[in-house]
């Protein structure tokens, strides 16, 4: 089908310069240039370093995406770009580049929400989204349960983290354990050798009372503190820290709460599909436990492959292509970036 929209997506909300090209619901290419190594020695993303890297990587990444997909820019039907949320300086580089493409090629531009894109990316992996879909977004900056009647214009937040995001908790605990940044993948790996019931770390917002007042909210900062205190006690007692056990037990506490609340959200809302997106969805234990609990509850689980869970341009192109296909109005060429764009706002 050649009448399906051909859309190029640009993502620069954090430290990844992503360019993806999608035709309809088919992924043609996903190209990512990351500055993560430049940040690793600082133990976190340095905004100015990320912005400089985006500027240098932008045109080469667009060029590579086109070459690898065998697509000429002239063939594009639309440009899509992350307009928020994210780091202000980083977002600006991508949005400016996208606008320059839109003007030069005389094509419509769609400024889209990074979080909705994390959900929409699964369309190019596993096909159209059932409407509504229940989505759990777990990333470096967010942990939310979303009811998604239509990913192009109707995303509803059921709850979200009240303090740290899940990925942030992984990164901070990794630092406590002396593992490199970003910590998620390292904890995932270390945990494989560990015992996940070795230490009983707290499950935030799961008491009966909390399940009434904060049914679909999360809290990970108490867990992070509990881990830090536990490790500190070990140090004080002059004992070695069993890194694998701590990693496994911490990880279990996170994914236990996430999956429990996700299944609960599906049941409460009568939805039999759960989609997990965002960088933490790459976590092997989260994937396994979600599969187990969803199967038991009769819920179909969808999780994109790990490479599409972390930030990338394909997710933006995927959402843009949906917008074109559904006849949504493009954004204005004067569209602003919004570093704290609310999840409910799919498009700017």
């Amino acid at each position: 089908m050649t009448d399906e929209p051909l859309v190029l997506g640009i993502e620069t909300s954090c430290d990844e310069t992503g360019v993806g090209i999608v035709r309809g619901e088919t992924l043609l290419v996903d190209t990512v240039a990351s500055s993560v190594e430049e940040h690793a020695r600082f133990g976190g993303v340095v905004p100015e370093v990320a912005s400089r890297a985006h500027l240098e990587a932008m045109v080469p990444t667009i060029e590579r995406a086109c070459r690898e997909a065998g697509v000429s820019l002239r063939d594009l039907d639309a440009i899509a770009v992350t307009s928020g949320p994210g780091l202000a300086g980083s977002l600006l580089v991508g949005v400016a580049a996208a606008k320059a493409l839109a003007v030069a090629l005389d094509r419509p531009i769609y400024g889209v929400n990074h979080l909705a894109s994390h959900v929409a990316v699964d369309i190019v992996e596993h096909g159209p989204l059932p409407e509504p879909t229940m989505a759990m977004l777990v990333s470096g900056g967010h942990s939310s349960l979303l009811l998604v009647p239509d990913v192009t214009n109707d995303v509803r937040s059921l709850g979200s983290t009240m303090d740290d995001a899940a990925g942030e908790a992984f990164d901070k605990v990794a630092r406590v354990l002396g593992l490199p940044f970003p910590g998620g993948p390292h904890i995932d790996r270390a945990a494989r050798e560990g015992d996940r019931i070795a230490i009983d770390f707290p499950r935030g917002l799961t008491s009966r009372r909390d399940l009434e007042r904060h049914r679909f909210d999360f809290s990970f900062s108490g867990l992070k503190t509990a881990v830090a205190r536990w490790v500190e006690m070990r140090h004080r007692d002059g004992e070695a820290v069993p890194v694998a056990d701590v990693a496994a037990s911490f990880q279990e506490a996170v994914v236990d709460v996430l999956t429990r609340k996700a299944v609960l959200a599906c049941k409460d809302n009568g939805v039999d599909h759960l989609l997990i997106g965002g960088g933490v969805a790459a976590n092997s234990r989260l994937r396994a436990l979600a599969e187990e609990r969803c199967t038991k509850a009769g819920i179909a689980l969808r999780v994109p492959r790990p490479g599409l869970c972390t930030d990338n341009g394909a997710m933006v192109a995927a959402l843009g292509a949906q917008m074109v296909a559904k006849g949504r109005e493009p954004s204005d060429l004067g569209l602003p970036t919004d570093s704290s764009m609310p999840v409910q706002l799919v498009q700017s």
Binding site: C14, F42, G43, G44, V45, V46, P47, E48, V49, S51, R52, H54, L55, M58, V59, I62, E63, L73, P85, G86, L87, A88, G89, L92, V93, V95, A96, A97, K99, A100, L101, A102, V103, A104, L105, D106, G140, G141, H142, A165, G167, E168, D171, K172, F181, P182, L333, G334, L335, P336, T337, S339, S340
Partner: protein, 236 residues
């Protein structure tokens, strides 16, 4: 020939089209905080004003600063991407040169300091000599507190917003009538002047005086300690 000029190194978000003889269209918005919002509409407005399509553009020149980083990058990435999309050559020029060139076009001759806002109580500065043949950058660009610039620079006629921001430190010429009187000096970069300077330098074709590269003139290392807190796993 139709050269698209872009500069976002100062408060002005400035776009111009130059046909080789003169500036045929210009769109400038003053807004220090919203470069990305105004630039692309500005390009489109300039094209409309000139009755031209994007395909009619034959080259792009972009101001590479120095200037506040976030706004500066908007212009550079836009210029590079626009040029790439249409397969056009793209050049960079020091933005302070464009201010000096505008002063030259206005008739200023002699010494000139260009001092623009570098935020954090500093200015970007360069010293120029303007004669009938055009401009020569004698020194700079540098980033410095205005009060710490060398004394004789601070008594030159000054273009850029520096003297508006730090009048005590950048007094300009002593009031003995030595300033070339009545010639207003530009405060923000005009893409028209930038494009005009590029056209002249390209016409000269002097390989000893090439255009600048396409890398931004940051003049400062990224500030690692003052990374603002964000919702992501950033520092802070």
């Amino acid at each position: 020939m139709l050269i698209l000029g872009i500069d976002t190194s100062t408060t002005a978000i400035s776009v111009a089209l130059h046909d080789g003889d003169r500036v045929v269209a210009q769109a400038t918005t003053l807004d220090a905080r919203a470069h990305a919002e105004h630039l692309a509409p500005g390009i489109r407005a300039a094209l409309d004003q000139a009755g031209a399509a994007p395909r009619d553009v034959t080259g792009v020149v972009v101001g590479i600063g120095p200037g506040p980083f976030t706004g500066l990058r908007v212009g550079i990435v836009s210029g590079r991407t626009f040029a790439f999309a249409l397969g056009l050559p793209v050049h960079g020029l020091c933005s302070l040169d464009a201010l000096a060139h505008e002063a030259w076009l206005g008739g200023h001759r002699g010494g000139l300091l260009v001092a623009t806002d570098a935020r954090r109580k500093e200015v970007y500065a360069a010293e120029f000599l303007l004669d009938e043949g055009g401009l020569t950058r004698l020194a700079g660009p540098v980033v410095s507190r205005a009060a710490e610039l060398q004394h004789d620079w601070r008594r030159l006629p000054i273009a850029g917003r520096g003297p508006l921001l730090y009048p005590a430190d950048l007094p300009g010429p002593p009031e003995d009538g030595s300033e070339p009187s009545g010639i207003p000096l530009p405060r923000d970069v005009s893409a028209g002047a930038l494009a005009d300077l590029a056209v002249r330098r390209l016409a000269d074709g002097d390989p000893a005086d090439p255009l600048d590269g396409l890398e931004p003139l940051y003049l400062r290392r990224p500030d690692v300690s003052k990374a603002p807190p964000s919702q992501k796993s950033t520092l802070g």
